[in-house]
Amino acid sequence: MVGHIVTFVQHLQAHARQLPRLGRAGSAFLLALLLVMVGTGQALAQAPEGTANANPTLTTMLGITMGVLGVGLLTAVLISFVVWATGTRNPLIPTDEEMEHSFRRYFWFSVDHKVIGIQYFWTSLFFFFIGGLMALLVRWELAQPGLTFTPDQYNQFFTMHATIMIFLFIIPMLVGAFGNYAVPLMVGTFDMAFPKLNALSYWLVPPGALIIMAGFLAESGTAKAGWTSYPPVALQGGAGQMLWLLGVFVLGWSSIVGGMNFLVTIMNMRTKGVHYFRLPLFVWAIATTAVLAVLGTPSLAAAVTLQFMNIAFGFPFFDAAKGGNPLMWQHVFWFYSHPAVYIMILPAFGIVSEIIPVFSRKPLFGYRALVYATAGIGVLSFLVWAHHMFASAMFPWLRIPFMLTTMLIAVPTGIKIFNWLGTLAFGKIRLETPMLFSLALVSMFVIGGISGVFLGSVPVDLHLHDTYFVVAHIHYVLFGGSAFAIFGGIYYWFPKMFGRMLNESLGKIHFWLSFIGFNVAFLPMHAVGALGMPRRYADYDIAFTELNLTISIGAFLLGFAQLILIYNMLRAFQVGKVAPANPWNARTLEWLTTSPPPHYNFEEPLTVDHDPYDYGRRISSPEALPVPGD
């Protein structure tokens, strides 16, 4: 017996050295996760009587859900400990060998930016389909006047649709997936500046998402106050709303941590020869986005914390009945959320700025102008937030300065469109799928950008605010803009990420169905909105019937088209052509290495002596690419 104990202790000592393998980041993270789970359960159990849904069954149920999740995790940690202490190999933890090569690295705390990028990629894509499902439920309800679902169900659908699309699809896909995968490669380095923080920012996403989704289990359902969560309505949302706030808080931290990491990486890790004005535009876009995330997201974190305290502990912050000020929420929320809309579009602009030169065989027209426009948009985006509040009870004359800044922000946006056209002119254009989606963004964003100017003009906005016109605007910029750029980015970088080419014909079908479905769905929304149909209506006046039916048909077509994308990807893994290192003959650095790249990206450190888009050079130094033919 004693002998056993002695061996056990020796065992412990012998293995103590190996503790770091489990990863301090990993264990700290598990602990944090546990705390979040337990904390949620606690907070919900303690919600004071009188808040709308403080009924015992509900809080108990949620407490139990959280408890089960927490205990499950705890067990996993304990098993890991025992396994480690007894010297057997932990089946949960991949070996170093597996971390390098096997599929299992995607399910563990990898610190390789490419693995993290791919983790983000599949996670966001998964949520794109969940969010899309919610959208189709919304459009199903609105296809005809009258009610199919209950208003409360409907309200959950539109709230979860926007929440998922914004926080779990567009932001993590653009910044998390493409940013993570491409930025270190594009600046010619081997990884992000802080690989463990990088893993942390990814691993905050699943728990954040789970917490928000846990609302589906609650008796009163998920959050249903809209993605903007205006109090006092939001204060009556009960458990679903509290989960929403917690989840958004966790996701917010993911953005902040990720943003800092990108900034340091871009400032400090550029390889020799890559000075600031040799950075591809996508890197500039991610840098600007990172600044917005670092400066703006804390405001969101503060806002949701205050609202959580308001609901859970009865603080008066936004509660007019207790002397609080519901308008304050709108200011704090939009101070983050306007910059956030640029977090959602600048990387998309970045992707398009990569794709257009490659497929036109010309340098980006007005590279510096585009850099300045990106930075200018970044600065201005902090000065326009109140344009979301023109009809609120805000001090009336404040509307004029905010109208001015809003009109100004349209200028750098216009400059970008102009420069993309300039890149096309006199080029040698190939219309492959990435290019088609990019050109679609350019044309659709004109409509979305100018509809923003309608909304920025106070007298016009007082008519259009909170109608379907705003919904149309949002979708022209976020679907016609961000999502189209994401699709373009998928077709463009998929070969690099997975070593397989996507099928072009399927890509083109996907493109045309999406483009048509998109316009059938969202163009008529301008009209319904201008006619006066408010947004967030579960039912509507029969005058709006035909237009709504058209919209719903377009939406289902658009939804269907996305299945083709999935099919194309799955097919590529089976029978797709093996991708060469540089299938598009591009000049940015990610194409200098194999597809997919080796663990540390490049066989040896790079020295760069060319600009990212100089397609005209026939003779180049040995480090640069071979002849830019095609």
Binding site: I415, D466, A530
Partner: protein
């Protein structure tokens, strides 16, 4: 009827002017959308790749065109700004002779209190050709008063008053929507605005129950009248003619005696103490309902010099 397809009819003095600006922006949109679309299609066809080894001209930009484009865009956006600002300033201030109507929003209905004691629910009655000013508050969450045919919208908040004005130009019945998401039955929080000939309106009003008389009764029964004597001799300032005037407060600050000021003075009397008076008034917080507040307001407003 409005001239723009897919636009609601124009039934207020605001409508035509806002639509003109809308139309201007619409023309800009169509112009730029067409320009970019034609540009893309033209370039895609004209400069489509022909041989593998032709090298297109490697232009990297053109500062002159760049600056020109920027100045052009800036010019256009400033036209939009000044037009919008001018129109906003012009439309923001109601004319002096407005008809005052009080609105209470609650989940999920609209209630109205008219000057002569008439009341109505969901449907607002107004005379044609006269500016109407709504003073609105909510009993619970934020709602928004939206009449598409008038091109007006204003959020309605709990705990404070917001105002909205319009002048109907056509008799008829128009949609009223709640535009700010207010929970479960948001989409059922709808009503009509019924615009009538002035004579007809007078007749409708006369059917009322005399709520400003109610206001007077409240003024006495709540004990307001004992301090705020019309003679000005009481311990509180006389309220005759105070509505809409500028009041000097202790410390020399001045404030306009609008609906919000009167509301605050009733619910939180020490917030604004009138110069020359002691802060002795008790608070009526919790003792008067939103409706009673509006009736008091109605009454105070009717106290002409």
């Amino acid at each position: 009827m409005g001239g723009i397809p897919f636009f609601p009819e124009q039934a207020s003095t605001h409508a035509g002017r806002i639509d003109l600006l809308f139309l201007f922006l619409l023309v800009l949109t169509i112009f730029f959308t067409a320009l970019v679309a034609v540009g893309i299609v033209y370039f895609a066809v004209r400069y489509r790749r022909r041989h593998a080894d032709e090298i297109p001209p490697q232009t990297t930009g053109n500062t002159r065109i760049e600056v020109g484009g920027m100045v052009g865009l800036l010019g256009l956006s400033m036209v939009a700004f000044f037009w919008g600002a001018w129109l906003f300033v012009d439309l923001q201030q109601p004319p002096a002779n407005t008809l005052e109507i009080y609105v209470i929003a609650k989940k999920w209905m609209w209630k109205y209190e008219y000057a002569d004691g008439q009341q109505s629910i969901n449907d607002l009655y107004v005379p044609v050709g006269q500016p109407v000013k709504l003073t609105m508050t909510s009993q619970d969450v934020i709602h928004s008063y939206f009449v598409p045919a008038f091109r007006v919208k204003q959020d309605v908040l709990p705990g404070r008053y917001t105002t909205l004005w319009f002048e109907a130009t056509e008799t008829g019945t128009y949609h009223l929507f709640c535009a700010e998401y207010c929970g479960t039955n948001h989409s059922r929080m709808v009503g009509s605005v019924i615009v009538m000939e002035p004579a007809e309106y007078e007749q409708w009003l006369a059917g009322g129950s005399g709520a400003s008389a109610d206001g007077e009764e409240l003024f006495t029964s709540l004990g307001c009248a004992s301090c705020h004597q019309t003679s000005g001799q009481g311990p509180g300032p006389s309220l005759v003619g105070v509505f809409g005037e500028t009041v000097t407060l202790q410390g020399g600050e001045t404030i306009e005696a609008d609906a919000t000021y009167i509301r605050t003075s009733i619910l939180d009397p020490t917030a604004h103490v009138v110069e020359g008076f002691e802060p002795i008034m008790p608070t009526y917080e919790g003792q008067v309902t939103e409706e009673q507040l509006l009736r008091l307001l109605n009454y105070i407003q009717s106290l002409e010099q």
